[in-house]
Symmetry: C2
DNA sequence: CATCCTTACTTAACCGTTTCAGTACCTCTG
DNA sequence: CAGAGGTACTGAAACGGTTAAGTAAGGATG
């Protein structure tokens, strides 16, 4: 039992397929009598005709499909994304795509073959790539002559649109906030620090803040790994051996909540013994206890802008778009001031605790 | 600059498109000389030929696409899924689809029009529907002659495959566990209790357990709404006015963590003052503090089985598949026994606290 | 009354691919 | 040396739709 095609409708209505196509697509350059028009519509409805978008895209060279590439937590792991961050982003991408008549073709980076394969094969109209990948795979994107939006990756390539936040400033503000609370031993827990990734930028912000306060980044206070709850816990367990660490900057909320959990398991109280700072402001940050002081970013805005940028490009706007959304400090309960006021620092007055960056 | 098609390759290699198709698809029913074969392959590679899957699906009547419908939290809200449950499920669906050569076409229920439209238009090979919908929309699914898998919905329709867990038993075990800990005032916080939904089944389990213990469901202890952190918090705030409630069964972890948060905000300690029981065992359950005692379900298995079931059906296996995965009690830190041992109950001995259901 | 313009269609080509049904040539067989 | 069989291809139709170009009929124009 085949689906009904335009031919079936044409035969039943006693007209040509062309006429059916004209009627159903409401082509105004062609006049069709209202009687024929009515009859075609009636027959199409009665027979349950639905156009085959794949066939249509053959002639129109347009699929109304947007490819989404989301990284796997770890290659070979079953889960594409453990981090609720991706769920939130995907939600926004889907919502905005659909309201503009597009659909999402979802894929992780294909194991073995190029992760762009899908996009090429399916002929998606545009592609959104989330996270950073080896630049070799970006090279392949050039071969596709479709709009490409990169979310959360740092590349200088002029042919890609980019969407992100000011990660470096986020790292800077977060660390400055901890410093302003009197912390001097600040650990940094993050995902892998790759060349084009956001983690590197957040690290640079951390470094900048430390150095501005006359402190140095210390190797033994850096805990990089994967962006997961487990790694956060693991890092917390390890850093407990260093007594001079009074605060942890976790460069993702999912890491932050892991750190809190890990500290607890080691018998440390948060924030009384150790302060923890997150990044992202996922729901998670409010869910955990104590609620997480964190750097907020607008994930929904990122998803929305990604789709709009693709649509702009498809509309023929040639300009490269580069969106950088702001980050904001959200003060909650996981950070507290250390007892003695800061006096030894040149650049900071003891009462500087309240000069929050907005 | 058009993509190179099979015709371009054929012309360049000096053969017909048929030959190119035979070579590239390694059709063994047709003999091709190794010299021609080599040449065609070389030319195809050199020209960067990639087959157009849309065109292919026109003749093969197969798109290698699986449609996924995931509910919106609330109609009109920007977010399709706030609940990390869906992220986890989607991950598993994507992973298992891709390893079998399929891709996922993602969509929320289209506002206004039927949410099946996409599936019909795109000609997906199968469709996975997550959550429960009005049965009217299920009727439309009959018109599609493709395999349909329903996850987490209770329908008796023979033409759909179903995948779920034993929600009623989950509700029963959870409530029995709370009862075994001496709780008698047990509130029920859940999503909307619709006819075909999982929440109704979990409620029935709750009711069964109460009645087996000689207790009655009391209307004022039921808090239904949406499945969200916010609703959990709201319910907790409201139930604080009832002093005889010593435990809360939240029928989803995301609700459970909301309840914990809400109770805390009202100055109640968990579990010292009020015990909380969740459902799902998301990462969240370990992330929150106290970690949540909950009913575990295997989300990855659901996703995997959904894809396998679609593939089975596409392979021509005619049988309706109906998978019910087990639920397991996971004891963590959010439930504690109430002080006095239970003596007044006929069916329970005072020491029955340890007869955990495995 | 021949010409032109509308109106209301249809014909046919095309999108990129698959596949059935040839066809041409060569070699082997009886 | 006719016929059979194998090898190595090609032609053309088909999938479901779009669209440029053509056409036939009727009415208005000069």
């Amino acid at each position: 039992m085949r689906r009904v095609s335009i031919k079936d409708v044409a035969r039943e209505a006693g007209v040509s397929t062309t006429t059916v196509s004209y009627v159903l697509n409401e082509i105004t350059t062609q006049t069709i009598s209202s009687e024929t028009s009515r009859r075609v519509r009636e027959v199409a409805k009665r027979m349950g005709y639905v156009p085959n978008l794949n066939a249509r895209s053959l002639t129109s060279r347009k699929t109304n499909l947007i490819g989404i590439v989301i990284p796997q937590t770890e290659p070979g792991r079953e889960f594409m994304f453990d981090n609720p961050f991706y769920g939130a982003l995907l939600s926004s991408l889907e919502f905005n795509a659909r309201r503009n008549g597009y659909h999402l073709l979802l894929t992780g980076p294909a194991s073995g073959q190029s992760y762009i394969g899908v996009a090429r094969n399916r002929g998606v109209d545009g592609i959104v790539i989330v996270g950073s990948y080896p630049s070799s795979s970006l090279d392949e994107l050039h071969q596709l002559s479709i709009p490409v939006v990169l979310i959360d990756t740092y590349v200088t390539d002029e042919s890609f649109h980019t969407i992100g936040i000011n990660d470096r400033q986020g790292g800077l503000l977060a660390t400055e906030y901890l410093l302003s609370r009197g912390h001097r031993g600040i650990a940094f827990v993050s995902g892998g620090i790759s060349e084009h990734g956001v983690m590197r930028q957040r690290f640079l912000g951390y470094q900048e803040a430390l150095e501005a306060a006359g402190l140095q980044v210390r190797e033994e206070r850096l805990y990089t790994g994967e962006v997961s709850f487990q790694h956060g816990m693991q890092a917390a367990r390890e850093l407990c051996s260093q007594q001079d660490i009074t605060a942890v900057f976790a460069a993702a909320d999912i890491l932050g909540v892991g750190v809190v959990k890990g500290l607890r398991q080691q018998g440390r109280r948060v924030p009384e013994d150790v302060s923890v700072m997150g990044f992202d402001d996922l729901d998670l940050a409010q869910i955990c206890d104590p609620s997480l002081t964190t750097m907020r970013q607008d994930i929904a805005a990122k998803g929305r802008q990604a789709i709009l940028t693709i649509l702009d490009a498809l509309d023929g706007k040639p300009d490269k778009q580069e969106w950088i959304f702001p980050v904001d400090l959200v003060v909650r309960d996981s950070v507290r001031s250390v007892g003695r006021p800061v006096t030894a620092q040149k650049h900071r007055r003891p009462d500087s605790g309240e000069e929050l960056n907005e």
